[in-house]
Each structure stands twice: as structure tokens, then as C-alpha cells.
Symmetry: C3
Subunit: 202 residues, 3 copies
Amino acid sequence: MQWSSLVNICDLIATFAFATVGARVAAAKGMDYGGIILIAGVSSLAGGTFRNLFLVHQPAWIPNPWLFAAVFVAVLITIVRRSSEPVGRFLLALDTFGLAVATVSGTNYAIGFHSGAVIAVVLGVTGAVTGGLLRDVLSQTEPVLLHRETIGTSALAGAVIYVLLNEFQVNKAIPAIVGGLVVVLVRELSIRYSWNLPRISK
Amino acid sequence: MQWSSLVNICDLIATFAFATVGARVAAAKGMDYGGIILIAGVSSLAGGTFRNLFLVHQPAWIPNPWLFAAVFVAVLITIVRRSSEPVGRFLLALDTFGLAVATVSGTNYAIGFHSGAVIAVVLGVTGAVTGGLLRDVLSQTEPVLLHRETIGTSALAGAVIYVLLNEFQVNKAIPAIVGGLVVVLVRELSIRYSWNLPRISK
Amino acid sequence: MQWSSLVNICDLIATFAFATVGARVAAAKGMDYGGIILIAGVSSLAGGTFRNLFLVHQPAWIPNPWLFAAVFVAVLITIVRRSSEPVGRFLLALDTFGLAVATVSGTNYAIGFHSGAVIAVVLGVTGAVTGGLLRDVLSQTEPVLLHRETIGTSALAGAVIYVLLNEFQVNKAIPAIVGGLVVVLVRELSIRYSWNLPRISK
């Protein structure tokens, strides 16, 4: 299998993952089917869209409308299974996988357009976390990204590792696999041991 | 009268309609004149702005600053008439007209840049509904788009009809008129008979 | 010292000012360090980012990642000093300075790309106020811009003066200095004498 089709398949799975979490959050908030579709779409596509706009590129869904199919299937499954409970263990794993893929694929995309290391990291993280942030803002929920968990930290760690390993240019796959594993590892450990970033205590 | 000037006039009226609804929502939320102007501007211009950014084009208000005049007149009327009651029957009709024009004009714009059918529909709907969504987010109200009514459904129906009829390319005006009428019809019927999209019951 | 390096230094200080206010608002809302970094970044960089996107340009932080250093230092100081009290007198002065610089620098940027007077004013004001607006939306606070104070009015007055003086083209520095002073003056006076824009009384 070619590298680029592997990337495409991973992007589709990540889109599906983020769309499923988004659909579940929207359903739990009592939105109608239209709201569920919209939140699923924003959750899964907004991050990459803003990353591309910052680079003055079209969003990926314009040349590749198949990404909408991933959103549609995610919404369909949510509606058919009438899922409106909070996000469970399996969905959290799916979300973490989505975060890993989005981070790596976004950082890789930015590097491909000759962004420097700092910008590649910023765009990789932005692309990975913006969808979830907008999902929570539109659902009028306290954004998880800003208050709890280590979504941003996990993405940052993965993006930095990706950029560092990429400097050696041994093999295109190594930075992607290690970067993605770092995202999964940091997030899984922080969930298991309830690690949180500190706050400024009042 | 030329086709393009008719389109421009309709765009101005749609901008005026969305700006009026936005100004009214802002006034009802107790915002000051500055907040009213800002919400009126976002309500009426954000949808087309994002649609254009996705296509890597400048927003329409850069080459055509007359659109700001429509916003300004809408705000002026709202302030002079000291209107801060909820949106009434006449304004709802104006809003529906705005939705029809924005849907048709946005879908037409996207097709003009060789977008495929799916992307034309997505961009047409995005351009028509994003302003109202941001209006509600900035006003810290539950977004109507996500919870009630059939704004998204009406725009979707109109955009799909437009794209389908456009395939036959008989006449530029037919898809626009029929598409717009479909938006108005779906929205009016859904308001009259209180049709809502279903939810996932808990 | 060259004009362009003076502009760069002012931009860095304005970024630092907006980032500090953002970090303080995030800390006061009980966000973790990740949330503080993100809100500081959005507060200080989102305005210029959107202004540039509307002109179909890359955000300034892509060619000039030093802007992130200003954000980083602002966050570091906030965390080290454990500042989570509401914004005080000194910070308000810093914020006003940031507003003046952002307005003048944004209006100047827009004019440099042959925008007409109206668009230059709109882009100057948009670049100056959008960061604070998004800061409040993401912090789930009532946006100051829409409800209180005269942030928007001050920026508008400064941008208009800048554009008018710029017509005479005597000297590049005069419109910038006078425009900036007008922003500071309008805001300081409105704070001292509790001037507010009117509302539509209910």
C-alpha cells in the first residue's frame, strides 16, 4: 500500500472519530438532527480547515469531499443507535486515535509547505484541537481543551517529537508513528492517573 | 435589467434582512450601540465571508463596501424605532427572504468556481446559516440553528434543488428562482405547522 | 532607528499586552496552564490573523514566529506572579496601548494593500477588537466589546483619523502617532468619566 493512501485512510478514520464524539455531544445537549450533523462536521473538519486557511490553502474537504461521507456515517450510527449518553471508554479511545492522526497529519502537512519547526508545531496542534474547542463553544459547554484533560499537551508533545525526528529524515514513517504514539501515550497516561495541568490557585 | 445587477440588489436586501434580525437580537440582549452594529455586521456578512475564505477568495465586502451601507441602514432603523422586542412576523418573513437569497447566491457563487455539486451545496448552506449561528454564539443565546426551526434544512433543500436544476443549464434564472422558492416554502411550512427535525430522545 | 523596526517593536509590545490581559482573564476563570496559553494566544493573535485572512494573506505569525515569544513571556509572567485577580489599572493602560498600536498597525497594513478608506477602517478595527471578543467568547464571559466600555469606538475613532491624515501623505509617522493618541484619548476619557455608548432602553 502506498504511503499517501495510508495517510488518506487514517484521515478518514480520524474524521469519523471526531465526528462521532461531536455527534454524541450534540445529542447529549438535546440538539435536533440538523444540529447533530453541524456539530459533527465542525468537530471533525474545523481544525484542518483553519490550519489550511492560515497557510492560504483551500480546506481538504474541497478537493476531497469523501471526508463528508465519514461525517455522515458517524451521524447515521449515532442516530440509529440513539446514542446520547456521555462519551464512554471506546469513544475516548477513538478520540485519542483521532487526536494522534490529526496531530501527525497536520504537522506533516505544515512541514510539507516549508513552514519552520515552530509554525509546523503550532499548525499541527491547531489543526488537532480547534474542532473540539469549537464543538464545545457551539454546544455552550465549558471547553474541555481549556479546563481539563491534556488534549493540548498530548498534541503538543506529539507534534514536537514529529518535528524533531523529521530533522533526521531517515524515513517518512518513523516520525509519524513515534509522534502518533507519543500523543496516545501522553493522553492515556494522563487519563489513567488523572494528570492535569496546574492552575493558578486563587 | 441585467442579471448581475438583480443579483447585487438581492444580495443587498438579504444583507439588510440579516442585519436587521441581528440588530434586534443584540438590542434585546441589552447590548450598546457598538454591540448592535457588530452583531448586525456579523449576522449579515460572516456567512459569505467564510464561504469565500474556504475558496481562498476575498470576502464580497472588500470589493463591494456598499454591503456595509445595508448593515448601517438596518442598525439605524432599529435604533430610531427603538426596537428591542423579539423578532415578529414581518421580520421573520424578511429573514426567510434573506435565507433564500443567501442560499441561492452562495450556491451559485460556488458553482461559478467549478466546485462539484457536493461542495456547492455545502458552501451554499454554510454561507446562508453561519451568520445566524455566530450571531447567537456572540449573543450567548442557544443557537436557533442547532436546536429549533428548520433554517439548515430549508437552505439544504434549496441548495440541492438549485444544483440539480443547474445541471440542465436551460436558463440561469430558473434554478435560482425555484431554489429560492423551495427555501421559502420549506421554512414557511415548517413554521406554520411547527415542523421540527427529530432529536435523540433521552 | 528604522520605521519598520519601530513598527515591529510596537507590534511585539501590543501582542504582549493583549496576551497578558488574556492570560489574566483565563487564570481568573480557573483554566489550567494549557487554557491560559491558548487564551493568551487567541487574545493577542486572532485579530491580525482574521484581518490578514480577509485580505487572503498569511497571518503575521507565520513569517514572524517571534510573536509567539511575546505570548510566551506574557504567560510566564502571569504564572510566575500567580496573577489571577481582575485586570487592574496598569494592565488596563497596557491594554489601551495595545489597542492603539493594533488599530494603527492594522489600518496601515490594510492601506498598504490598496484597500479603500472604508475597508482600511473596517480591517483596522477588526484586527484590533477581534482578539478580545474571541477571548471572552472562549472564556464564556459576556463580551466586554459588545456590552461595556468603548473599545470599538476608540479603535474606530483612531482608524478614521489615521485614514483621513494619511490622505495628505506629508509624513508616514504623523497619521500613526495622531491616530494612536486618539485611541488612547477616547478610551482614557471614557473610562475616567464612565462614558458608555447608549442602549435601546426596554
